[in-house]
């Protein structure tokens, strides 16, 4: 295979419920074990708590809600993934609740496809693409639109 024509994208593969998702490593800050969370009364259900990441107070987002993925109870493999994400040009540190973190992998960018218009399982505006590996489909969420929507929806809560 001709290496030079391939554009590789580096992803961290996470699991939300039963669905595997891929987040570009550029977003990643760190991966933490579950910890005590502080509930924020009156907040949107998808961002209902805060955690202390070495002195910084970071909101925890649950992507399973906007992506429409059923939420299982926390298990031994649950992890918190801390990311940098831009909300309308503001760099925000946020955490994502995940049910497992699998691996870091390189994916040929050309294999990532648009969500077919017939697929209705996931909200199209929150998904930037999808690809298939040996174990099935991996979803590439659009973190910018998801977090922008979360920020906007809390604004009306």
């Amino acid at each position: 295979m001709n290496q030079s024509t391939k554009v590789m994208a580096s992803f961290v593969i996470l699991r939300l419920g039963v669905q595997r998702i891929a987040i570009a490593t550029d977003y990643m800050r760190e991966i933490l074990d579950p910890m005590v969370e502080k509930r924020v009364p009156g907040a949107h259900p998808a961002v209902r708590s805060l955690i202390n990441v070495r002195g910084a107070v970071v909101p925890v987002a649950d992507l399973r809600l906007p992506l429409g993925i059923p939420i299982p109870p926390d298990g031994p493999s649950s992890r918190i993934v801390v990311i940098n994400v831009k909300i309308d040009d503001d760099e925000v540190v946020a955490a994502i609740r995940t049910d497992a973190v699998h691996e870091v992998t390189n994916v040929d960018a050309s294999r990532i496809e648009q969500l077919p218009s017939t697929a209705s399982t996931w909200p199209r505006e929150f998904v930037s693409g999808i690809y298939r590996d040996n174990e099935g489909f991996v979803l590439v969420p659009n973190l910018e639109t998801i977090f922008a929507a979360l920020a906007a929806s809390t604004a009306h809560a």
């Binding site: 009364p41 009156g42 202390n52 909300i87």
Partner: protein, 672 residues
Amino acid sequence: MSDDILAVFNEELAELIETLESGLLSLDSNPDDIEIVNSVFRALHTIKGTGAMFGFTELASFIHKFETAFDVIRAGDAHITPDIIRLSLEARDQIPSLVEKQPDPYGDRERILQELANAISLSGDEDAATAPVIAEAMPEEDEMPADNAADQILRFRLTERALALGSRPAIIFEDLRKLGGHTIKADLSEVPNLDGLDPGISYVKWEMGIPPVTADDLENAFMFHDVDFDLVAATAETPVVEEKLTAATSPSTPEAPVAAKPVAEPAPKREKAEPAGQGAGESASSLRVSAAKLDTMLDQVGELVIAEARLAELAKQSLDPSLLSLSENITRLTAGLRSSTMNMRMLPFRSIVGRFRRLIHDTSAKLNKPVEFVVLGEDTELDKTMIEKLVDPLVHILRNSLDHGLETSDERGKTDKPATGTITLSAEHSGSEVLVRIRDDGRGLNTQRIRAKAVERGLISDDAQLSDAVIHGLIFQPGFSTTDVVSDLSGRGVGMDVVKRTIDSLRGSIEVDSHEGIGTDITLRLPLTLAIVDGVLIEVGGEVYTLPMASVQEILDLPHSDDGKQEFLDVRGLFVPLLHLRDVFKSSGPEAVQPVVIVVGAGTNKAGLVVDRIIGTSQTVIKQMSRLHSEVKIISGATLLGDGTIALILDVMHLSKLGKAKADALARENAA
């Protein structure tokens, strides 16, 4: 020139311009205050000096002419007139473009200077009969009273080798004269006999009356001379040999018959005496530090406070007495460090008031509405970040007050109001809030017109029953403007909604109190957003929250009641609405046996917060909530406790508003 140096110059220049401008504006109301004239002159002189030093020759020569005009006033040959003030302000406005080295295609600068010179000679002619004419070159001693209360005595002498190094007393005298020095006396007591005289040494000491000047000014005058000097407040001194200024320039008067003692006693080197004049000494001992450095320091102190809390927690658990005492010591030191760091970030309200004076001055001239601008509470200290963000909203409000609020003199004449309107700007601390108030004695808001406009714009429905206060609040809605004529000042309906947005972003609120024909009173309530505050830790449904100590009015036990949940509490005759935080927070934890009521808020916005338990107090480092939680109004931020857990900080201002809404609802219910 490196950018760093240029930045220093620009910063200094901005300060000098500010001094200049505020001086000019206060001269407007006190035209005879020679102190202010002096300070304006000094500002000009320094601008000229630094400008030339940094290579802004155009600026220096412009300011030189500007300064010359003020020199005439300072000498008493001319008097301040409104025209001079206006032209001086115009000249001041030329400074930025001169610094940017912009061309002057229309010859504005030359025109301003010419007009200024004309205005000055005109004012001089008018007053020539009454004004004491003081020769520019040499003030006569008799005419300059030495015992002027504000004056100080400057004693100075050249150091031993100064003459050898080329110092010339005549040059020093000239510089001191520019500072306003007068009545010089020479002390010849140390001049030796002829055979003991060393021509390279100056034996004469001088004593001079001088108006209050800063130590910096004296340092400047003596910059190139090796001089020992000493500044004292004027007292009745034993007279020494008096000499004319001209005669005194000869340092070694040979015929002086006094004791032959060489100048041996080591005079204190360049000792700076604090000038007695208030205000003049203010700048003497300050240090310029970039805001970014202060912010970094504040962050570090914040981390320290958290670490200290953790240490205190561990020490308590260890029961080790020496560790406990050390931890207590550190707690005390941290608290001290915290408050001094916070203090550094505080700026007096005064620091932004200058530009408002200018705004009022110009706008009032433009609209031809004479106005008296009163500022109260200039010393009220506000957080630096807050004070900067307040400038724009205040500009909008003040402009509106002048443009829409105040009537013209003619209109005022038809009522029993004085022809000159009054706008009052005040700032004060109230509990955990800062109140900034803008009051005018103008025509007040036209409730009917605002209402009609709001209906027309679809902001309210035609039949809405609204109190006056609610209707007045509508002027802060986007796109709202009742003035049909759009002037270049206001009337576009932008502005007031920007004011509201800015104040909202500072987590503040706006209150309008207006009475038709009497005036309008706009109050900005702002939190003292300090990055660290003293907090009261409370527990609600098993969760820990904190609220600023300064907002707590009193703490009471919730009285037992048999008929369900109490909604109001009678606190010594005052009905305080109760907010059960368990309900507000939708808490699910175990209920408390004896809930506690914390009365918070200020003025009429009081509320009783019902909490399960009070845990104690803590120093609270405020961490801002992220954008994802920006609209959770009841929470103003988060903080870390000693054990690393997060406690949310309650937004007392918002909670007391909820309480007020509850009280208002009850009042309406009772009325119905």
